[in-house]
């Protein structure tokens, strides 16, 4: 088959495929067929053109001289003269030039102010969660409060402060460790657990992904984003990966009705670190 026949066959196939595409679309559409027919259409046109170019268009190499890129000295000199002719008239009014420059800088500065409207001043919001007032029940996603006994051994559930379900900074993991596991409370947090139930912020201290993987057998929490690993039995201390800080712990207690409550806010700001986190 000659290249000419090949190329025109390509164009013909492209036409048929375009027709097919129209039919497929008109019949209700089918993604795979649409993609393939589109590919055949454009591929046919592309192949046809390339075959045409390779076989029937002038293929001989031509040579072209490269002109020097830089301008000639005369041109540069002429430009310099013309520019300086104008420049002297500007220079002669030095004060005017200085004040105009100042005004332009001020203009640029003034334009920066509207940027401030883009967001609020970062403040205590980064360091506090809705748990802060204390004695707030922890509730499940459906708003249901929990008694300690309702969480089975090896169990884990995500909870929020009551009235703030889905608050992005306060998802909390309630974990009930195994009887056989040697839970060692952090010094000063001996009364932060209730009946083997411990609560940590679900947000990784690395870049804030929800630390969702609880390995019950070994008491480890693993972050699926960057594999930071925290030991639940030792105050959620980081044992592997890029996270450098423990998951903040929530001081738990039970209220008069036997439901789990937070005594106060987390042991530290939740989620990723920032410059003045500890100030």
């Amino acid at each position: 088959m000659t290249a000419e026949k090949g190329a025109s066959a390509c164009f013909l196939v492209a036409m048929l495929a375009a027709l097919g595409l129209a039919v497929v679309y008109w019949q209700g559409g089918q993604n795979q067929l649409e993609g393939i027919l589109l590919a055949v259409t454009s591929g046919g046109i592309g192949c046809g053109i390339v075959l045409w170019a390779k076989h029937y268009m002038p293929g001989e190499e031509v040579s072209e001289e490269r002109e020097p890129l830089a301008s000639s000295e005369e041109d540069i000199e002429a430009f310099r003269r013309d520019f300086e002719a104008g420049e002297t008239s500007l220079r002669s009014r030095r004060f005017l030039l200085a004040s105009a420059t100042g005004a332009l800088i001020a203009f640029g500065g003034a334009l920066l102010f509207p940027i401030r409207s883009l967001g609020p001043r970062p403040g205590v919001g980064l360091k506090r969660t809705p748990y802060a007032p204390g004695n707030i029940r922890v509730v499940q996603a459906d708003g249901k409060p929990l008694k300690p006994g309702e969480l089975p051994r090896d169990g884990v559930v995500t909870v929020w402060p009551e009235g703030h379900v889905d608050a992005p900074d306060s998802p909390t993991l309630l974990i009930r460790t195994r009887a056989s596991q040697d839970f060692q409370p952090v010094a000063g947090r001996e009364d932060w657990t209730v009946d083997g139930v411990v609560a940590y912020s679900k947000l990784c201290t690395h870049v804030g992904c929800p630390v969702g993987l609880y390995q019950a057998e070994v008491g480890l929490l693993l972050c699926p984003c960057h594999q930071s690993t925290f030991n639940v039995l030792e105050g959620a201390r980081p044992v592997f990966g890029p996270a450098a800080r423990s998951l903040p712990q929530l001081p738990l207690a039970v209220d008069d009705d036997g439901y789990l409550v937070a005594q106060g806010d987390f042991s530290g700001p939740v989620g990723p670190g920032f410059w003045d986190r500890d100030r």
């Binding site: 993604n31 390339v50 995500t158 993987l213 390995q215 693993l222 699926p224």
Partner: protein, 263 residues
């Protein structure tokens, strides 16, 4: 990988129909002492060396045989481990893997009833597929399961060599049992944090994930950027390079002449 996954799935479907039907029937009956006795005999020969003659467990010493107590395993625990072939395990120290069940469905039924009689473990959850809501199941799945098993149900790595298995080959009964039992590294989801209705919906979604709609074409794992990047380079970029090789010239480049050498 895909082919093997398919085969496993087909094998699993075969097993389910064989296993689940008699079990589902017996679950509704009162415990039958004859069946429990049969289970006890099977237990004594097949399980007691690791789990103890009374199901109280045997401590693992120096790599010897040993295993946990079964007093809280319940029907769900026994059913999950036996029907997925994870028990009996070849080794006491390695994480048990899914394989062909060692017992017949009747034997599993007997063992399950025997283990259930040992203590207060979870019952096998009753499922009602006809009334399961797929979308609500998806919400339960994403809230509780995808962190380990991945959004597509293809499983995922845990720390220190452990892994959450792919869910494709799990039967509805096995999924439900696993949720209540928390086998291996998996946490336990009790009825107070994941209701019966949630569980029923969840099972439907997990089964759906085994063969979901793929309107976009070949699913390439449904796990996102890694297989996509692989296809982009290995199919797309290879095709691109092939095209420019075809269109552009490939004349060998002669060596540079010494007189034009640059420092």
């Amino acid at each position: 990988m895909r082919v093997r996954g398919r085969l496993l799935a087909i094998a699993a479907v075969g097993i389910t129909t064989a296993v689940a039907t008699p079990f589902a029937a017996s679950a509704q009956q009162q415990p039958d002492q004859q069946v429990i006795d049969k289970g006890a005999r099977l237990y004594a020969t097949g399980c007691s060396s690791c789990h103890g003659s009374d199901g109280g467990g045997v401590e693992i010493k120096d790599g010897g045989a040993g295993g946990p107590s079964l007093q809280h395993a319940g029907a769900a625990g026994a059913y999950f481990y036996l029907s997925t072939g994870r028990m009996p395990a070849a080794s006491s120290t390695e994480e048990p893997k899914r394989k062909e069940p060692a017992y017949t469905p009747e034997e599993i039924d007997a063992l399950v009833q025997y283990v259930a009689s040992l203590g207060d473990g979870p019952e096998l959850p009753r499922l009602d597929p006809a009334n399961a809501d797929l979308a609500e199941g998806g919400e339960v799945y994403r809230a509780n399961c995808q962190a380990c098993h991945s959004a597509s149900g293809s499983g995922g790595a845990l720390s220190y060599g452990r892994a959450a298995p792919a869910l494709g080959s799990a039967t509805p009964e096995q999924i439900a049992a696993a949720v209540r039992v928390g086998p291996g590294q998996m946490p336990v989801f009790g009825p107070d944090t994941l209701s019966k209705k949630d569980l029923n919906n969840l099972v439907r979604y997990v089964r759906y994930l085994d063969n979901p709609e793929d309107p976009g074409g070949l699913p390439i794992g449904r796990t996102g950027p890694i297989p996509e990047g692989f296809v982009a380079w290995m199919v797309g970029m290879v095709a691109f390079i092939g095209l420019v090789l075809w269109i552009g010239t490939r004349a060998p480049i002669p060596s540079r002449k010494p007189k034009e050498e640059q420092p």
